[in-house]
C-alpha cells in the first residue's frame, strides 16, 4: 500500500492505456511519455504495462506502507527516500514506512514512478489509466489516497543497476511526417512549420500541447468531415496554431491535420513544458 502524502501539481495512475476502443469514443490514454514509463517498469522487473504514477512537474511525496522496489524515470528530478538522495533511472529499495519525494524537474515535464508489482487499482475497460478528457479511470491523486500494490510474485529479477538516459534538449526538434491533410493548407505551410520556432502555451495538458508561433494559412475554406485522429497529430484549428495531440486526445476531430509526429517523437512532445521552444523537422 502506498499513501499519497502530496500529489504535487498533478499526479495520475497510468499504464499503457485503452487501445482498440477509439471507434466507441474512448481515447487510448495511458502514460504520456511511454518510453520513460516502460523503462521505469523494466527497471523494477515489471511487465512494461504495469500501472505506475505519472507526476507532472514533480512535487509528489508518497509514503510506502510495506517494503518495495521503485524506479523513477522521465523528467529529471531530485529523488529522496526518507531524505536521502537516490539516482533516477535506477531501481531503489524503499523500506516500509519510508517517504519517497520528487523535487521539481530541471527539464522536461513528466516523471514516472514504477513500483515492483505495479499499482493495483481497479481496471476500467481493461486499463488503470486516468483519462483526463473522458473521466475514465481513477481520479487524479489527492492527499490521503491509498494505492494498493500488486504482488511481485513471478516477476523478472531486478538485474540492472542504472540506465544511462540522454539529457532532454533545451530546444527539441521533433520529426514530423506531412499529412494526412497538408493539402488543406497554403503551399508554404509546411516550410513555415519547419523553419519557425514555436512556443508551448500554458494551457497544454495530457490532451494536447498548444503552440504559439507563426499561424499556418489554410488554402481552402469549408469544413472537413470529422475523422479519426491519432496521437502525435498536429491538428490546426481556425487560429492556424497547431495543437499536438497527446495520450488523452479526442478520438475524432473536424479540423485538418497538417502533419503527424514520427512515433519516436511523441515521447519528446510529452516532455515539453509551458514556455519551452521547439522546432519541427521533416
Amino acid at each position: 500500500m502506498i499513501e499519497v502524502v502530496r500529489p504535487g501539481p498533478l499526479a495520475t495512475v497510468q499504464d499503457l492505456g485503452r487501445p482498440g476502443r477509439a471507434h466507441l469514443g474512448v481515447p487510448r490514454s495511458g502514460a504520456a511519455d511511454q518510453r520513460a514509463f516502460r523503462l521505469a517498469n523494466r527497471l523494477v522487473g515489471n511487465p512494461e504495462g504495469a500501472a505506475g504514477v505519472e507526476c507532472t512537474f514533480g512535487g509528489a511525496a508518497l509514503r510506502f506502507r510495506g517494503h518495495a522496489w521503485i524506479a523513477v524515470t522521465g523528467a529529471p528530478v531530485t529523488l529522496r527516500i526518507d531524505g536521502r538522495p537516490h539516482a533516477m533511472n535506477a531501481p531503489c529499495f524503499v523500506a516500509a514506512g519510508a517517504v519517497v519525494e520528487l523535487g521539481t524537474p530541471t527539464s522536461g515535464l513528466r516523471s514516472y514512478v514504477a513500483v515492483r508489482g505495479g499499482i493495483a487499482v481497479d481496471e476500467v475497460l481493461g486499463s488503470r489509466s486516468t483519462d483526463l478528457l473522458s473521466g475514465l479511470g481513477p481520479a487524479p491523486l489527492a492527499p490521503g489516497d491509498r494505492l494498493p500494490v500488486g504482488s511481485p510474485g513471478g516477476l523478472q529479477y531486478i538485474n540492472v543497476d542504472v540506465v544511462p538516459v540522454a539529457a532532454m534538449p533545451e530546444t527539441p526538434s521533433l520529426r514530423i511526417l506531412p499529412g494526412p491533410r497538408d493539402d488543406w493548407f497554403a503551399h508554404d505551410a509546411l516550410s513555415t512549420l519547419t523553419s519557425s520556432l514555436y512556443e508551448v502555451s500554458p494551457d497544454s495538458n495530457r490532451v494536447g500541447v498548444r503552440l504559439n508561433g507563426p499561424p499556418l494559412e489554410r488554402a481552402r475554406d469549408g469544413e472537413l468531415g470529422s475523422e479519426g485522429m491519432v496521437i502525435g497529430s498536429l491538428q490546426v484549428p481556425p487560429s492556424g496554431l497547431p495543437i499536438i495531440f497527446l495520450a488523452d486526445h479526442p478520438t475524432t476531430g473536424g479540423y485538418p491535420v497538417v502533419a503527424v509526429l514520427a512515433s519516436a517523437a511523441v515521447a519528446e512532445a510529452a516532455q515539453l513544458r509551458p514556455g519551452q521552444r521547439l522546432r519541427f523537422r521533416l
Binding site: 487501445p19 482498440g20 476502443r21 477509439a22 471507434h23 466507441l24 469514443g25 474512448v26 487510448r28 476500467v124 475497460l125 478528457l133 473522458s134 473521466g135 475514465l136 511526417l177 499529412g179 494526412p180 491533410r181 468531415g225 470529422s226 475523422e227 479519426g228 485522429m229 491519432v230 502525435g232 497529430s233 479526442p250 478520438t251 475524432t252 476531430g253 491535420v257 503527424v260 509526429l261 514520427a262 512515433s263
Partner: protein
C-alpha cells in the same frame, strides 16, 4: 478510394461517403488484418491504426481491395431510445425553426437515424438522419454540465449525452436508457452503423 498516410503507424482511407465507411469498418472488424489495433470510421473516412511492426505500404495496398459486404445494418432492428420531451431548449428550437414545440418533437421522433461515428466523449454517437427542418446551430455558449441521458441536437446531428459533460447542443429531452456502462463489454450500446429510433414517452 484514396489512402492517405497518417504518421508512421496509421492510414486514412477516403471512402467518399458514410455508408462505405461503415461497410469498410464492418469488413475490418469481421476479419481483422494482422497488426491493426484500431479502426475508426468518420464521416467519409476510415482511420486504420497499426502497431509499429506493420508494413504500412502493404497495408495501404490491401485496404482498397477489401471485399465489402452489402448493407451493414442489414435487417437488424433499430435500437429504440425512449425520450421524455421536456428539454430546456425546446422553445428556443421551436422559434429558431419556425415550428411549434409539438412539431419539433414529432419530426425528431419520426426520424430514422444511423450512428455516423463516435467521438467527443466515450459513447457519444453522432446520429445522422435528422430532419433538415431541425438543423440549428449549437448554443453560443456551451453549458458547463449537461446531465447524462440528455437528448440533444446540433447542425445535422442528433445525439444522447452518454455521461455528464459540458456541451453546447440543444436539449430536447432526456432518456432513461443507459447508453454507456463501463461494466458492459462493449460499454456502448451505440456503434458506428447502429440504427436508432426515438420513441416518445410520457413524463415520468
Amino acid at each position: 478510394m484514396k489512402v492517405r498516410r497518417v504518421g508512421d503507424t496509421a492510414l486514412l482511407v477516403e471512402t467518399g461517403d458514410l455508408a462505405t465507411a461503415h461497410r469498410m469498418d464492418a469488413a475490418l472488424r469481421s476479419v481483422p488484418l494482422p497488426g491493426v489495433v484500431d479502426v475508426v470510421p468518420g464521416e467519409r473516412t476510415v482511420l486504420v491504426v497499426a502497431d509499429h511492426t506493420t508494413d504500412l505500404g502493404s497495408l495501404a495496398a490491401r485496404l482498397p481491395r477489401l471485399r465489402l459486404a452489402g448493407d451493414v445494418a442489414g435487417d437488424a432492428e433499430p435500437l429504440e431510445i425512449p425520450v421524455v420531451y421536456d428539454g430546456e431548449d425546446l422553445d428556443e428550437v421551436a422559434s429558431l425553426t419556425g415550428l411549434s414545440r409539438e412539431e419539433v418533437v414529432r419530426r425528431h421522433s419520426a426520424g430514422s437515424y444511423t450512428v455516423a461515428y463516435l467521438g467527443f466523449s466515450p459513447g457519444f454517437g453522432y446520429l445522422s438522419g435528422l430532419d433538415p427542418a431541425l438543423h440549428v446551430a449549437r448554443r453560443a455558449s456551451p453549458r458547463k454540465a449537461v446531465p447524462a441521458g440528455s437528448v440533444a441536437m446540433a447542425g445535422p446531428y442528433a445525439a444522447v449525452y452518454p455521461s455528464r459533460s459540458p456541451g453546447g447542443w440543444r436539449l430536447l429531452g432526456r432518456s432513461r436508457l443507459p447508453l454507456w456502462d463501463v461494466s458492459r463489454d462493449p460499454p456502448s450500446l451505440l456503434r458506428p452503423g447502429t440504427r436508432v429510433r426515438f420513441v416518445p414517452e410520457e413524463r415520468s
